[in-house]
């Protein structure tokens, strides 16, 4: 077993083949890696339950990121001439520590902020949270998962008392007769998941006729920003058409009356007038779900990324509860987590309001427990800080942080209102970015720290079904590349922390994480590297019991996680997007993903095959809408909102709603979709409104060739 990081300078024992997982999405397909830096590394799909021998193009080509030509291999420090220059680790870390100390001394601990990522292993996410709260003493830590799963997390916690993306293994979907996918384009975002759905009849809710929608028995194509009205309408129909599971509602839930009363205002014809989804199609959808015998309701980013995202997720949960699905053993509700470790990354303390084990930072007992594990007094732990966008927005301002440490994220591309975020990043006294490629954010940094990537490191991730997975190293990292764990340890020591408080070997960090999570909602205390390495299938919660706990593949079969064991309906109503269309901005601009790219594209744009498949951004639009702006297919165009504009070529698609345009968000520079997105936040989750902005489309004059 290799231990990268601490012993990076010592070559590990040669390994020629390992079982690990794809570096990208939350499905975490099992892969076999073989080869080395000499002959090259190849990935093959493994017969793992989520992918069963399948991989998408991103997974097959993932090893190419290991040899990215511009891989970061030495620490970089911005010199007096404004250019990033190579330097030694000691110089870089001394500089960072010295400046952090000075800023803290002058402006207090909250002058230093941390921005993490849903791609970080559990160990990194855990140690990053501990580092922020102890070594920096700051409350200002959040992560890019706030932009992904936070709305469903908030809704899931409220409804079920716990947030685990899928409270069942994905294989259970094979037994479903009907699956409703709301705002989830799985055929592009997690293709191998789709084979679990090939027996079910699909209902797809998406403003676009996506690759997933094309496979659906029924495609509901709502106006962007009206998904909650649709969810309310579906609940209405379930009530009126007698498809409720009344016995389940009575035995296992609370709050049905208020939620149903709210839904009564949303009769099908009214929902049609708001969403554009025909009343008859709404009825058909509920009939398919209600009479299926086995049905699932799954939601994705399309539901969550709204200023009413939490309520929208709650609207779909209400529907699932009314039909008696969650915890029934014959169906359920699930959130399709996006990022590779989007699940584990939100459980172990890099979220502004949380401590490890999914413990609330405001809970005295939770603070006492974690403080005990960390060997500090509970009062030494700072309180909750700003959520991701609020944090980015505050950078460099009068009361905002002066320094930011970024681990595993590229907010210059992925955050909403991107031009403003870039301006905030530029206003910092100190920006430090740890990454393995020069992302757009790294290029702005004062100090860049080269860290290990997927096939060079050990660790654990928690996939979308709450299952703990082992990431294993095939290769030693390049000589001057260090693990994030070691970077955090060495920085902490420079900031005056005892080295013993920051283990840099993943297995040792995990042992501490186990203790910190003990008794929490996401209890990992019964899980060990040994158990995982013997191939045990362990889903949390897995407490450390006298008799080995088998883990919990299926939650809620007996009871929900609220103290009384009941699930909660939520009384929600449609509010609509923060910004309405107007004569100046007459179209709904929505954003999303394409198959070939992952997140901000920092990795996948460096893979030749993927870059060839999707080389540049595009604006997907109905031919009529393009024509009205004087645009033909492939014409160069600008999408403008009240925030700013991006430029790309149009791609005509007659299946688009004429009132909507779509732009993928994976691309940098002028092609950033997030130049037009709206930073309106969901009041409960802090999720920005990526999925709907009021925009206009203009042709950009081109020189004739």
């Amino acid at each position: 077993m290799t231990t990268p990081g601490k012993t990076a300078s010592t070559p590990p024992a040669p390994v020629t083949e390992v079982s690990t997982h794809c570096p990208y999405c939350a499905l975490q397909c099992g892969t076999r890696l073989h080869g080395d830096r000499e002959v090259g590394v190849r990935a093959r799909p493994a017969d793992f339950p989520v992918n069963r021998g399948r991989l998408c193009q991103k997974g097959w080509t993932a090893p190419d990121v290991l040899t990215a030509p511009d891989r970061l291999v030495r620490p970089l420090v911005r010199g007096p001439d404004g250019r990033l220059e190579e330097t030694s680790w000691d110089t870089a870390l001394d500089l960072v520590a010295e400046r952090l100390r000075a800023l803290r001394a002058r402006h207090g601990p909250d002058a230093v902020a941390v921005f993490g990522g849903g791609c970080l292993t559990n160990e990194k996410a855990y140690l990053l949270g501990k580092f922020a709260r102890l070594a920096l003493g700051t409350s200002q830590i959040d992560y890019n998962g706030r932009f992904c799963m936070s709305s469903a997390a908030a809704a899931g916690n409220a409804a079920f008392g716990v947030d685990r993306g899928l409270p069942f293994p994905v294989g259970d979907l094979r037994d479903a007769r009907t699956v409703l996918l709301a705002g989830a384009n799985v055929a592009e975002t997690m293709p191998p998941l789709v084979h679990h759905l090939d027996r079910a009849e699909l209902i797809v809710v998406d403003p676009r006729r996506t690759a997933t929608a094309r496979r659906a028995t029924l495609h509901l194509q709502p106006v962007p920003g009206t998904d909650l009205a649709l969810a309310l309408g579906l609940l209405h129909i379930a009530v009126v058409d007698g498809l409720l599971d009344r016995d389940y509602v009575q035995r296992r839930t609370l709050g049905f009356e208020a939620a149903a009363r709210r839904a009564m205002a949303w009769w099908p014809e009214r929902v049609e007038s708001v969403t554009g989804v025909p009343a008859s199609a709404q009825r058909e959808a509920v009939r398919m779900l209600g009479r299926a015998g086995s049905a699932y309701v799954l939601t994705g980013r399309g539901v969550e990324q709204h200023s009413q995202g939490t309520d929208t997720a709650a609207g779909f949960i209400n529907l699932a509860l009314a039909l008696g699905l969650p915890g029934s053993g014959r169906g359920g509700y699930g959130c399709l987590t996006g990022q590779g470790n989007g699940q584990g990354g939100r459980e172990h303390g890099q979220k502004a309001d949380q401590l490890p084990g999914y413990r609330p930072l405001t809970d005295a007992a939770a603070r006492a427990h974690v403080a005990g594990v960390w060997g500090v007094a509970p009062d030494d732990l700072p309180g909750p800080g700003r959520s991701a966008y609020e944090l980015l927005d505050a950078l460099g301002g009068d009361h905002g942080p002066r320094a930011l440490l970024v681990f595993g994220s590229n907010p210059a591309v992925s955050a909403p209102h991107a031009a403003h975020v870039v301006e905030r990043l530029a206003s910092l006294d100190l920006l430090v970015v740890a990454d393995f490629v020069p992302s757009e954010t790294a290029r702005m940094a004062d100090v860049v720290l080269p860290v290990t990537q997927w096939a060079e490191e050990e660790g654990t991730l928690t996939n979308l079904e709450g299952r703990l997975l082992r990431r294993r190293a095939l290769l030693p990292p390049p000589p001057q590349v260090r693990s994030d764990l070691l970077v955090l340890r060495d920085l902490a020591v420079r900031l005056g922390e005892p080295p013993s408080r920051y283990p840099s070997v993943p297995r040792e960090v995990f042992e501490e994480l186990r203790a910190a999570s003990r008794g929490g909602k996401a209890d990992y205390s019964g899980i060990s590297y040994e158990r995982l390495d013997t191939g045990e299938c362990l889903h949390w919660p897995c407490p450390d019991t006298e008799e080995r706990h088998p883990g919990t593949p299926r939650l809620f079969l007996e009871r929900f996680a609220h103290p009384d064991g009941r699930a909660r309906f939520t009384d929600v109503d449609q509010r609509g997007p923060a910004e309405k269309v107007s004569p100046a901005y007459p179209l709904h601009g929505t954003t999303g993903r394409v198959l070939a790219h992952y997140q901000s594209g920092a990795q996948t744009r460096r893979v030749a095959e993927l870059s060839a498949a999707a080389p540049e951004p595009f604006i997907e639009v109905h031919p009529d809408t393009a024509a009205r702006s004087g645009l033909a297919d492939h014409g160069l165009a600008r999408v403008t909102s009240a925030r700013g504009s991006m430029t790309a070529r149009v791609r005509l698609d007659p299946t688009m709603r004429p009132d909507t345009l779509f732009v993928p968000f994976h691309f940098p520079g002028d092609g950033r979709a997030n130049l037009f997105t709206h930073p309106a936040l969901d009041p409960r989750s802090g999720m920005p409104e990526f999925k709907v902005s009021a925009v206009r489309l203009d042709a950009v004059p081109e020189a004739t060739p």
Binding site: P45, G53, R54, L55, C56, Q57, W60, A187, E188, P191, P192, L193, V194, H195, D198, R209, A211, R214, R215, V223, V239, V240, D241, G242, A258, A260, R261, R262, M264, A265, W267, E269, R270, E272, S273, G276, V277, P278, A279, S280, A281, R283, V581, P586, L595, A596, E609, A613, H622, P623, D624, A627, R628, P654, T655, P658, D659
Partner: protein
């Protein structure tokens, strides 16, 4: 903060109170009404037996004094007071701003035997305006009188619950004027198929217990006679108070009556010479008035409305008035598919909808409804929209396209498979090994197998054919 007093128990009053609080009105807020507010469009779901009457009650209003069982008897404009009777007690309520949301009253036609000596409806006769009316519809045989939307919706609901139902209307078909002959006839056909006995071109002249007599001499059993014969704005209070009244209480674009301290909205109000009624109008006016009264808006600008029938037996919608079809400069598109009971008649000007009658085309009803409400142009492929999308779009990798994308998950196009075949990959597994096709979601597996099979059985190898 000044006190707002709302008179009314319908959706307009409820929505106004809710939105006033939403807009931050912190002063006193009182709603005086006879019954608890309920969703009037859902009464037919109660009639159909799909919902109990209490289920259609509107949610409680937070921070609002709601006084039900209260009948307002008069307005003293000089004193800014409203007099009311609650039970046997007279009460007086003062206001800074008064809002009349008194709604409309059902029109009761002159039918012998329909009303009792006291002028109230006789037992076995009812209108359908309040939740309590639903329980008045009893028996196995019901006659519905009225060819408007409520008549059609009520008859549909009764048929759906298995009641022997007859719909009687003055025109040959229900909604005749609005839909036109062809479309209204389709509606008659559809309702008949749903089990409603349709008697057009007739009316009820006499009612005796359990029976009705029509003007053509027909005598029908009727355990209940439901009068869906329209409603008129309830202007009694306004008129008695000396406010300006025509069909409805006349209001300006601030929804103000002739007394600047009194506003009116919903079914009782007449704006720009029209009192269209209906919950969509009531809600839009309530949203606007709440914004106006809290200083968030200055005027109410009505948005285009769409009529949508609420019956699950037929998808029907209308835009504009029948007269709009005859306006100069309008381009008309008509499509009738008698066999499949589909009909569309559209009047367009500059790509925008002026008027429309749509029947049995649910996708078009949804799409054109949204386009009209937001003032958007209609799609250029109007016929495509009316005829509906193709049952299923062709799957990726259709036979005809030589460069078709076969495997989305791994971005494999047909030429790559051809090339692999040429190089000796002659099975699905071998093609997958060479190109990764089929290894993502697996959805293209059958297609690749078929291509494999086709090529195997061709005399000449695929690429030569391709050239």
């Amino acid at each position: 903060m000044s006190g707002i007093l709302v008179v009314g128990d319908g959706p307009a009053a409820h929505r106004l109170a809710e939105r006033l609080r939403g807009h931050g009105h912190t002063g006193p807020l009182t709603v005086l009404g006879a019954e608890p507010a309920h969703h009037r469009p859902l009464l037919t779901d109660v009639v159909a037996g799909r919902l109990p009457a209490e289920a259609v009650r509107l949610p409680p209003l937070p921070d609002t004094r709601v006084s039900t069982g209260t009948v307002v008897t008069g307005i003293d404009r000089a004193r800014h007071e409203v007099r009311a009777r609650q039970g046997g007690t007279e009460t007086v309520h003062s206001y800074d701003t008064l809002v009349l949301a008194t709604g409309a009253r059902p029109v009761v036609p002159d039918i012998v035997g329909a009303t009792g000596g006291d002028g109230h409806l006789a037992a076995g006769v009812t209108t359908l305006r309040t939740a309590s009316d639903c329980a008045r519809i009893t028996g196995e045989t019901v006659v519905v009188l009225g060819g408007g939307p409520l008549g059609v919706e009520t008859a549909s609901a009764l048929a759906a619950r298995g009641t022997d139902t007859t719909l009687i209307c003055a025109h040959p078909h229900p909604l005749h004027e609005r839909l036109g002959e062809t479309c209204a006839a389709l509606l008659t056909e559809t309702l008949e198929q749903a089990g409603v006995t349709m008697l057009g071109g007739r009316t009820v002249v006499r009612r005796t217990p359990d029976r009705v007599l029509l003007d053509d001499g027909t005598n029908l059993r009727a355990d209940t006679l439901v009068l869906c014969t329209g409603a008129a704005p309830d202007v009694r209070l306004a008129r008695a108070a000396g406010l300006r009244v025509r069909t409805g209480i006349v209001v300006d674009d601030r929804l103000r009556t002739s007394d600047p301290h009194i506003h009116a909205l919903g079914d009782c109000a007449e704006l720009n010479g029209r009192a269209p009624g209906g919950v969509d109008t009531a809600w839009a006016q309530a949203d606007a008035l709440a914004a106006i009264l809290t200083g968030h808006a200055t005027v109410h600008r009505p948005t285009p409305t769409v009529f949508r029938l609420r019956t699950r037996f037929a998808d029907v919608s209308c835009v504009g008035d029948p007269a709009d079809f005859d306006r100069p400069g309008a381009r008309t598109v008509t499509l009738t598919d008698q066999a499949n009971r589909r009909h569309a008649r559209l009047a367009l000007r500059d790509e925008h909808l002026v008027a429309a009658v749509l029947f049995g085309v649910p996708e078009a009803i949804a799409a054109l409804g949204i386009a009209h409400r937001y003032g958007r142009p209609v799609p250029s492929d109007l016929l495509g929209l009316l005829l509906g999308p193709p049952a299923r779009p062709a799957p990726v990798g259709s036979e005809t396209d030589e460069d078709a994308l076969v495997c989305l998950c791994n971005n494999v196009r047909r030429p790559a498979l051809v090339k692999a075949w040429q190089s000796g990959a002659r099975t699905v597994t071998a093609l997958a090994g060479a190109t990764r096709a089929t290894t993502g979601c697996g959805g293209c597996g059958p297609l690749v197998a078929r291509l494999c099979d086709d090529w195997e059985h061709e005399a000449r190898p695929a690429p030569e054919r391709a050239r």
